[in-house]
Each structure stands twice: as C-alpha cells, then as structure tokens.
C-alpha cells in the first residue's frame, strides 16, 4: 500500500488522470471526424448493384443498410417507384446476384436511375449496334451540347436580362430609350430562339432505360450526368467514378433541391462570408481593444465595459441574428435603399438579407473574442519596448503603430482564429440575415462591380440543416449531410491553418519573441 500512497503523493496519479482526459477528448474528436468522414466519403464509392427477387417482384439496387431481419436497397428510379430506398425483409428475399449489365444512370432530374440500358434513339429511330457502345460514342457530344446550352442560358441570356432590367429602371427616370430597349429585346429573342433550337437538337438523341420491374423510361442523352456500370468496373474504373463524383460534389452547382449535384456555391459562400467577417471584425475588435487598453482611463467604467464585452460573447447567436435583421437589414439596408436605390423600390437591394449583413452580424458576434485576445496581447508587449520607442522621440501613436501593434499581432491573430472558427460554424443568425437554400448567383462573379455585397448566399452550415431536415427526400440526402459536414470542417481547418501559418511567420520574423 505504501507504493500507492507514494504514487499519489508524487502527483503521478494526477499526471495519469490529466493524460487520460486529454486522450479521451482526442478520441472523441477523432471519432466524430472519422464517423463523418467514413459516412460521407464512402457514399461516392460505386457499390455493387445487386439483383434479387422479393414478394413484390424483382429488385435491383445497391445495398445501403442491413438490420437483423431486413436489408435496405437503394433502388433509385424515384419517378417510377416513388421512393429511392426500400427495406426488404430477409425472409422474402431470393438469391442475390450482381448482373454485369446493370448501370447507375445519374441524370439531371428525379435522382439516379438503376437498371439496364435498352436502346439509343435519334429522332425516335432506334440506333443499331450495342447500346452501351453507341452510348459511349455519343456521350461526349451530348455533354458538350448540354454545357453549351447551360452557358448560353446563364451567361448570354442572363446578361441580356440584367441589361434590360437596368434599362427599365433608367427609363423610369428619363424616357426616350425605347429604341435601345427594342434592340436589347431583339437580341434577347434571338438568343432565346437559338437556345430553343439547341434544346431541340439535344433532345433528339435519347436513351431508353429499363428498370428492374420492366418499366422503361426514355430521356435525352444530354440529361445524363454520369453512367456507372458498377458491376463491370474494376478498381481503377470505380476509382475514376469515385473521383468524378467527388469532384462534381466539390465543384458543381446543386441540383434537385440540393440533394444532388455539388455544393460549390455553399463552399464559396462560406469562405467568402468568413473572410468578409474577418476583414470587418479585426479592425473593429483591435481598435476597441486599443482604446480600452491604451487610452481609456482604467477604472470602474472600463471594468464594467470589460464585463459587458465578455458577456456579449455568451449571448445566444440567434439574438444577434434578430438584431442583424432589425438593425442592419431593415434599418441600415432600408436606409441605403431609400437613399441610393429608390428607383428599384419596392424591390429591395440592400434592404433584404445579404452577405454583407450576415458578415457584419457575425462580426458583432465574434468581436468579443477579438477584443479579449487583443487586450491580452497588448498587455503582453513589454513596457521596456514602449519606453524605448518613446525615448527615441516617437509619439504615443507612433509607438502603438510601430512597436505595440506589431508586437501584439500574433495574439491578435489568435483572436482572429478563434473568431473564424466560431463564425464559420454559426447558422442561426445567418438564416435571418442572408443565407438562402439556393442562391441564383454568387456574391463574387464576372459582372460589374464583381463583388456583390447585397446578394444572398449559400452556406455549408445552413446546407446541412436544409438538406438534412428540410429535404423531401431525407434518406437520399443523408450522405450529403455527412459530406457537407466534412467539408465545413475542412473549410474551418483550412482557414485556421492559413491564419496559423501567418502567425508563425510573424513570430519567426520577430525572432521567436515572448508570445
């Protein structure tokens, strides 16, 4: 027993306990990230397409879940079957097989089709030869066509639309622009006509698919996004399909009310909102902290203020959202609209949710973190360095700017890192101040003035909520939720790494000082 007491007395017990606690925390974090990662990343891997029979007839699909007495199949074909997923009791299930000709056809509408390719047609005439071969031959052209249609629709017609809208507003102010309007209208109609021709052309090549129960579906080849004959693919082929799906997810626009396609606009919106927030929160927090630490008289008032700032960090974020909506959106935004965009009213420009208001609201939410970190960093700058600067004839402001702030910069960046981590994960205030389910255009694009601070935007956090809990097809959306969560984590990590790197470079430049 002596040993145990000795062990306790020396503090070994505490060391073990603290180590174990740290280990437990790490395990929980790794578990969370690992679970999200496995659930999300596994989703894109093309699984075997299993065929079998049930009491209701034949079934074809990927096995997505297993329980003691039943198996879940992803059968796709929402348009034919009404639901993507089906639970089948094991008892009813016939023998399982993996037919080589089964394919997953990812298409623009109704989710994936799981079945077989029966034939390809041009203008209703069945094309001769092996349908799979013909399909491979015709697909590149069809893809190029659909891309072309999309560009025409988005860029040319979208641009003309905007110009006409602007001109309409101008005409309100001063008449006599009818000729220009007519010219624009003519160009618009011409583009529309060209689009119609292209659409008809694209629709002329069709593919007929057959589902497990014999129903067929004919759709334009141009609306086929991807074709994955999982059972016929080797590891390399599956890897190709996997990477292609992953890339689509990261780099493309969403489809089918966000349950399919990519989430690029949400990634972009999140990063942009966080960067905008950082740009706003750093000056706000640093200046406030500078005044509190360097200029204000230290006394009761300042102590009260400090407590108030710390309490601000504990206010629920939805309260900030309500404030942002009431103050920024309706009061400030509405004011801006009445002053500068009166001709567009009652359609609001800034008087509605937008990325600027969301970023400002989050800046308010995170400013206490920056203030506290900056105050501590300022206090940590040695008095001797301030004195050295003052003794050289520097003014108080020059000393602050040249010595104190650079010295406090690593600490300020620590505050920024914490603020970014908090800001990137907030959803509630954003829902009130500018986030939408689907933003038609991004806050940064090629049209003047390039940065559109008034636009609504998409956000990964809101995307998780929307896809996971507001989607009509929540089973199909589940993997998207995990993937989106994983990407949100990744975005936060990347932003933090960026700031960490900046901080360590600053520290290195200062010779590994006392911070």
């Amino acid at each position: 027993m002596m040993n145990v007491r000795e062990w306790w007395r020396r503090g070994s017990a505490l060391i073990w306990f603290s180590g174990a606690t740290l280990g437990f925390s790490l395990l929980m974090i790794l578990g969370l990230v690992g679970y999200i990662g496995a659930k999300g990343l596994g989703f894109f891997w093309p699984g075997a397409i299993v065929a079998s029979t049930t009491a209701q007839g034949p079934i074809l699909g990927e096995i997505t879940g297993q329980e003691a007495d039943k198996i879940q199949f992803h059968v796709g074909n929402r348009d034919l079957f009404g639901q993507d997923y089906r639970w089948v009791p094991r008892a009813e299930l016939g023998p399982l097989s993996t037919p080589a000709d089964a394919v997953v056809v990812e298409r623009l509408e109704y989710g994936p089709f799981i079945g077989r390719i029966r034939s390809l047609e041009k203008d209703g005439q069945v094309l001769p030869g092996d349908p799979m071969e013909t399909l491979r031959r015709l697909r590149p052209a069809a893809l190029a066509m659909s891309r072309h249609i999309r560009d025409l629709d988005k860029v040319e017609i979208g641009g003309l639309n905007r110009k006409m809208e602007d001109l309409r507003l101008e005409m309100k102010a001063r008449p006599g622009l009818e000729a220009r309007m007519a010219a624009l209208k003519a160009r618009y109609d011409a583009a529309e006509a060209r689009l119609e021709v292209l659409r008809a052309q694209a629709a002329s090549v069709t593919v007929t698919l057959e589902a497990a129960d014999g129903q067929t579906k004919t759709l334009p080849l141009a609306s086929v996004v991807r074709l994955v004959p999982s059972n016929a693919l080797g590891v390399a082929g599956k890897m190709g399909a996997y990477l292609s799906r992953l890339w689509e997810f990261v780099a493309d626009d969403p489809r089918e009310s966000n349950t399919e396609g990519g989430i690029f606009p949400a990634i972009f919106g999140t990063v942009m909102m966080v960067l905008l927030m950082s740009v706003l929160v750093v000056p706000l927090g640093v200046l406030a902290a500078l005044y509190m630490r360097e200029y204000a008289r230290q006394g009761l008032l300042l102590r009260t203020l400090r407590i108030a700032v710390n309490n601000l960090a504990g206010v629920p974020s939805i309260v900030f959202g309500v404030f942002g909506l009431g103050f920024f959106v309706y009061f400030v935004g509405g004011g801006i609209d009445r002053l500068f965009f009166a001709e567009k009213l009652p359609a609001p420009t800034f008087g509605t949710g937008g990325i600027l208001w969301a970023a400002l609201t989050l800046a308010l939410l995170t400013v206490p973190v920056v203030i506290v970190a900056t105050e501590e960093a300022l206090a940590a700058v040695p008095r001797s360095q301030r004195e050295a600067s003052l003794a050289l004839g520097a003014t108080r402001w020059q000393t602050l700017w040249n010595v104190v702030i650079p010295g406090a910069m690593p600490g300020i960046l620590t505050g920024l890192i914490l603020a970014m981590a908090r800001g990137a994960g907030e959803v509630a205030p954003l829902m009130l101040t500018g986030v939408v389910k689907l933003a038609p255009s991004m806050p940064l694009d090629g049209t003047f003035p390039f940065l559109h601070l008034d636009r609504k935007f998409m956000h990964l956090g809101f995307h998780i909520y929307d896809v996971g809990f507001q989607s009509p097809n929540s089973e199909a959306a589940k993997p998207m939720v995990f993937m989106t969560a994983l990407l949100l984590l990744l975005v936060v990590v990347v932003l933090n790494l960026f700031a960490l790197r900046l901080r360590s470079r600053l520290r290195a430049r200062m010779g590994g000082g006392a911070f």
Binding site: S384, Q385, A388, A391, G393, A394, T395, N402, P406, G511
Partner: protein, 282 residues
C-alpha cells in the same frame, strides 16, 4: 595601464581594467562648459517625495555617473532629463532642468523633440522585435526619413560607433532579438545614437550583462564621450570610477556629494560618501 588618458586617445583599449582605477582627469573636461543644468529639482510620486532639491551640472563631452543605493532616486533623476517621468501618472516635478539655455519643463517645449535630443539606454536591453537594421533606423523612420541612402548611412555609422558593425554587417535583416545580451545592449546604444542626440542617458546599461560584455560597453562609453555628453546611472562603483569624469552620490533622494570622480573616490568630503564607496553600507 591607465584608463581614460585623454580625449584624443582614439585607440580602443585592449581588455578591461579589473581593479578600481581612478581616471586621470584631462584638462579638456575641466574647461568644458556645462550643458545640463539641474536646478533645485524636487519630484513627488503622489504625496511621496522622491527627489529633494537636487542641483547638478553636467559638462559637455563628459561622463557623469550617478551612484547610490537602490531607491535613492538616481534613475528618477535620469528620467527627469528626458521627461520620461511624464508617462507615470501622479508625478509632480518642481525646479528646472535646462539643456543649454532651454528649460525642458517649459510648457512650450515639445517633449517629442526633446526626447530626440536625449538618447536613452535602458537597464535591460530592449530591442524591438524587428530586424537589426530596422531597430537602428527606427528613430529616423518615425521622424519621417524615407531616403534609403540616409538610413543606410545612419545605420552603418551608428553600428560602427557602437562597435557592432563587424559582428552584424552580414545579417542586418535578421531579428535584433537573435543577438546575445551584450550585442543587444550595444544595438540599443546604436539605436539611441542614430538620431544624433546631444546627450546619452544610460540607466544601468551593464547590470544585466556578463563581465566581458560589460567591459565592451565601458570601452564604448569611453569612446562615445568624444561626441556625446553622457549621464550614466550605475550600481557598480568600480564602473563609475572607470568610466566617468564626474560622479554624484545620492542617498534617500538627496544629492550628498558631487565632484570629479578621482576626487570623490580618493578624497570624499562627506563621511556618508566614504562609507558608501568603501562598502560600509549600501
């Protein structure tokens, strides 16, 4: 060897004198005109009086050392000369401090300008977390000097004068915090000299340094007095004896005795001074 022969002796001395030596006073110092006039200065921290009616003169191109036990007010007096005490709340100063004919406590005096004329070196070396070059150039930069040639010249001149040039000329872009303690202190001296002050105020510049670095700084002080008037606060009586022409002894905020260093150390007029320099108290 004798320390401090004449002012025209430009040869750096080899090694450091280890035993207490009394410098031979050169006649130039005796005939120099006074630059700093401290007249009847009293200083209060709130209700507490820290300096009592100090009268002191510092001659041009001489080294004046202020000695005395801790808390005797010698650093406080030094900080009166460049008005660094202004930064402390609740400080009240009476009497006058003049540089030449300018009263530095005249309300019309620009403190910023004054501090440019009074270089200061602190007890603990305090380089900025910037490059060696930027440390030295700092004083000029805040004066708005942007001309690269002017800055280069000032940096080189100051670093040569502080004896640091040969050690750092190949790494001016590196952080000043990467230097050793003694080098950092010489960097701080170079920084103070870059703006060409009239007076160098040194507040125990060697107290945090090892003996070798200390002797380098002492040699430096000896050379610098050709161009500057130096007031140095020191705890180390041997150091005062080695580097200074004049010495002032403080006790409890009062100036007890002042005079030529060799006189004060060999033949003090006041009993208390004798007790202090012979180590009987303090």
């Amino acid at each position: 060897m004798q320390a401090g022969d004449t002012m025209t002796d430009v040869e750096p001395r080899q090694g450091a004198p280890r035993k207490t030596e009394v410098p031979l006073t050169d006649t130039a110092v005796l005939s120099a005109k006074p630059l700093l006039h401290i007249e009847d200065v009293s200083l209060f921290y709130g209700p507490k009086q820290a300096l009592f009616n100090i009268d002191l003169e510092v001659r041009e191109h001489s080294v004046m050392s202020l000695i005395g036990p801790s808390g005797c007010g010698k650093s406080t007096l030094l900080r009166c000369i460049n008005r660094m005490n202004d930064l402390i709340p609740n400080v009240r100063i009476q009497g006058s401090v003049k540089v030449g004919d300018d009263d530095i406590y005249d309300p019309a005096v620009d403190v910023i300008n004054l501090r440019k004329r009074m270089g200061m070196v602190f007890q603990k070396s305090n380089p900025f977390p910037k490059s060696i070059y930027e440390n030295v150039a700092y004083g000029l930069r805040i004066q708005g000097v942007k001309d690269r040639a002017v800055l280069d010249e000032a940096v080189e001149r100051s670093l040569i004068a502080s004896g640091l040039w040969d050690e750092v000329k190949d790494r001016l872009k590196e952080s000043g915090l990467g230097l050793s303690g003694g080098q950092q202190q010489r960097l701080c001296i170079a920084r103070a000299m870059a703006v060409r002050p009239e007076v160098l105020l040194m507040d125990e510049p060697c107290s945090a340094l090892d003996p070798l670095a200390t002797s380098r700084i002492e040699e430096l002080i000896f050379e610098l007095k050709r161009d500057y008037t130096i007031v140095i606060v020191t705890h180390n009586m041997q150091q005062a004896a080695r580097v200074s022409d004049f010495t002032a002894f403080f006790w409890m905020g009062k100036l007890i005795e002042t005079g030529l260093t060799e006189m004060l150390f060999t033949n003090p007029r006041v009993r208390m001074t004798e007790d202090y320099i012979s180590g009987r108290f303090g």
